[in-house]
Amino acid sequence: MNTLYEIYQSLSVVERVLVFLVLAPVAGGFLAGLDRKLSARLQGRYGPPLRQPFFDVLKLFQKERILVNKFQNFSIVLFFLFTVFSGALFFAGADLLLTIFSLALAGTFLILGGFAVGSPYSHIGAEREMIQMVSYEPMVILMAVGMYQVTGSFNVAELAQHQQPLILYLPGVFAGFLYILTIKFRKSPFDLSMSHHAHQEIVRGITTEFSGPSLALIEITHWYENVLLLGMVYLFFGFNPWIAIAVCVATYLFEIFIDMNYARFKWQLTLASSWAFTAVAGVSNIIVLSMMK
């Protein structure tokens, strides 16, 4: 049962980071391909091949690089670097809080990239991205707080090897995290700033002025981010690696299902509903937990 942990513990920190850097985009790309294929099947279409996201990214790297100004590219490279950095921290087994904060910083650089250009579409996209961040960030912090309350540690390596199932202590926090995960995965009903669908609409806003290699970098960053988020889902079920991996896959399929079944919310509803859900599920769970101790 614990062979996965033994393999993980036999690796040094540098090796763990290297494994993440190499495997995460591969896994993230295939997950994105699975998303597109499954979405197409659910809509009664045949859909693109599973490797399609890799074809897209490779093609984008062969396109001409059109930059509106140099700050645009600067922000996107930092968005990529900070997302990869937070993923590397997480999978090296470092501090969970630091991971969350550097992920928030990465998101900020994406917003700055959207604001760096003059296009009003890009500005609307960046504003919506900001609203999304305000919507999901409280729940992400609460997740770390809840995990600390149960285990007494922010260390990811310790959290993953905690022998008691975290999910039994944190069902509300998990439900809240699942809710904001829809925003983070950029799925309907919360895909306001960078949707996977509706390429002609304002919901592609933040990517309006990015072309070729910069757009490819945004896509690869999204893959890294998805793998990192599924890693966070893993922590809730860390007592048994196989159950945890199965839950990660189930979570991803569930998000695709939600994506296909809901129409897009307005930003007001996105903000209000995610905060309400955070308060009801997340905060109440943490209050109950603090009374139990």
Binding site: A40, P48, L58, Q62, F210, L215
Partner: protein
Amino acid sequence: MAWFKRSPWVLHYNATSCNGCDTEVIVSLTPLYDLERFGIINTGNPKHADILLATGSVNEKSVQVLRNLYDQMPNPKAVVAVGLCAISGCVFQDCYNVMGGVDKVLPVDVYVPGCAARPEAIIDGVLKACDILEEKYAEQKRRRG
């Protein structure tokens, strides 16, 4: 190896068309024809697009928009003229306000005939344009050395 064949992203512009060809372009996205199985995405953004699908006879007003969209597309890029109006102006070719075809304004790579063009023909035209994109990419690479 060039990857344009596996992932051609399309920008569609209606340059004074009667909407017949435009409807057919949209129809090719539906489950029956499903453009996406070839990796084709109908983007609404010239900066993301590889192929410009232009329909209609192009009048004095839309000619500026058409040129602007083409100029904003990153290289390598291809233009597909969809429908008879986009090829020659069709019944409108003698009108005082039309240019009479997309090729009077932009370098057209593929002509898709039909009034309106069939979805099968449009998909075929886009896939032909992919080959041209690959050639253009190879040419670009050779020139840079």
